[in-house]
């Protein structure tokens, strides 16, 4: 018998990252320690590849954050189509990330969490009353860099985290431009920063982006 054990967790995440498809396995709502180690190795490798395109000096890989996020995405995708009596487990499955939120964490989490908005939108379309919808929405509102999406928008953009340091600001604005997330670009503060940021290139890159008129509130 082959020593290589099937690793559905890794298969699913790797396939998602490579092809953008979900592979959903049956009834496996727990991951083993071995599986966790494998996926961290895999994600670290990919992180290094992505860091090649990262402006400025790339931050270090945060294994805990990456593992946490990949589990969130994995569980969310499983629960999207396959569900038994899991309501009681939601709390433990989707526990909050405990740790410092910095550039390293944001990028490590983003390796997989960037797929969460789509899963969330699917879920919301199927059943807006689903308790999982609230849980995922809360995660997306916390991890706003990964939540940037054309349709989805975080309730309140955390400018303190995303606009204060130049590195995070640049990847954050880049993501908005890449995704053409017009909802995000229409946030009053982001809008003016983004237009300055694009500068001469604005009309070539994103013609639909227009300065919004700020009205004086009385």
């Amino acid at each position: 018998m082959s020593k290589l054990k099937p690793n559905f967790f890794l298969d699913s995440i790797a396939h998602l990252r490579a092809h953008g498809h979900l592979i959903i396995s049956d009834d496996l709502l727990k991951t083993t320690k071995q599986e966790d180690e494998d996926i961290v190795l895999y994600l670290e490798q990919d992180f290094e590849k992505e860091c090649l395109s990262f402006p400025f000096e790339a931050p270090r890989f945060n294994a805990n954050a990456a593992l946490w996020a990949s589990k969130i995405v994995y569980y969310a995708s499983l629960l999207l189509l396959h569900r038994k009596d899991t309501k009681k487990d939601l709390e433990t499955m989707f526990a909050d990330y405990t740790g410092v939120v910095d550039l390293s964490t944001i990028l490590s989490v983003d390796l997989t969490l960037r797929f969460l908005p789509q899963i969330f939108l699917e879920l919301e379309a199927i059943d807006p009353q689903d308790p999982l919808v609230i849980v995922l929405k809360q995660i997306l509102n916390t991890w706003q860099f990964s939540a940037i999406h054309q349709t989805f928008k975080a309730e309140d953009i955390d400018k303190h985290i995303y606009l204060n340091t130049i590195e995070i600001k640049q990847v954050f604005l880049n993501r908005i431009v890449d995704k053409k997330a017009i909802n995000w670009a229409h946030d009053a503060q982001i809008n003016s920063i983004l237009i300055d940021y694009l500068g001469y290139y604005k009309n070539d890159i994103w013609k639909a982006l227009q300065p919004i008129k700020t009205t004086n509130e009385h």
Partner: protein, 249 residues
């Protein structure tokens, strides 16, 4: 009633046959006709203007006449000297004096002379096409900190491991030398070939297939750079190139 002398519109000129060649200077008057007899050449059809012009006045050993009542009068004389010989056969002057092309000169040794291909300042403003920048720590950090949208329309090639040639517009905000595109030549902005008419011949001789860009420098040297060597610019591509070639700018 005597006719006013201004009515006379036709003058004749007689010269010796041996001076035939001197007629070259009046050959361009198309209205003239030429005839010859044993010793003399006769040219008729001059107008008053032509007969007073420099071309006629500088003819050597000539006699000028006018004809009145079929008698031949020397110019500015009222006494006829006789009649025009009757046996003259008149031919238009351009038919009578045929042009001859010079024969091939077998003793001409100037064929090895050559024209130096040079650039010369040129006033027309041209759209920037390429930029040549030094690969140093400033350009390296500028590229590595640029957002995607400043890079993705650019293509680059590394030259001698020390310079970057970037094509695309708008280019990066790095000091460098700019070039414009002309017939697959990259010429420094503000310069053109001294003889632009030669550009096709130059292209034929150095880049006839058009697979290269010819990068010209102001010192009139050039380098051929394959078009297919240009790679799309991105931070990762740039970093990989540097690490592959082990360059530490």
């Amino acid at each position: 009633m005597a006719k006013n002398s201004t009515d006379i519109i036709e003058f004749l000129v007689r010269i010796d046959r041996s001076d035939l060649d001197t007629l070259a200077q009046i050959r361009h008057f198309e209205n003239l006709k030429l005839a010859q007899n044993e010793n003399d050449l006769w040219v008729k059809g001059f107008s008053m203007e032509q007969i007073n012009g420099v071309a006629v006045k500088t003819l050597p050993k000539k006699n000028i006449f006018y004809i009145k009542d079929s008698k031949l009068f020397p110019k500015e004389s009222l006494l006829p000297i006789g009649k025009l010989p009757t046996s003259l056969l008149w031919t238009p002057i351009q038919m009578a004096l045929l042009l001859e092309e010079p024969q091939l000169n077998h003793n001409f040794f100037g064929i090895h002379e050559a024209v130096d291909i040079q650039l010369a300042p040129y006033n027309d403003e041209k759209q920037l096409f390429a930029t040549l920048i030094n690969l140093d720590s400033i350009s390296k950090s500028t590229i590595e900190c640029s957002p995607n949208f400043r890079l993705e329309h650019l293509k680059y090639v590394l030259i001698n491991n020390s310079k970057l040639l970037i094509i695309g517009h708008p280019t990066l905000a790095i000091k460098g030398q700019s070039f414009w595109l002309y017939n697959d030549f990259l010429l420094p902005n503000g310069y053109h070939f001294k003889f632009p008419i030669l550009s096709n011949s130059i292209k034929q001789s150095i880049n006839s297939t058009g697979v290269h860009y010819a990068l010209w420098q102001k010192n009139n040297s050039y380098a051929l750079i394959k078009k297919s060597d240009f790679k799309p610019m991105s931070i990762s591509s740039f970093r990989r190139t540097l690490s592959l070639l082990d360059i530490h700018a």
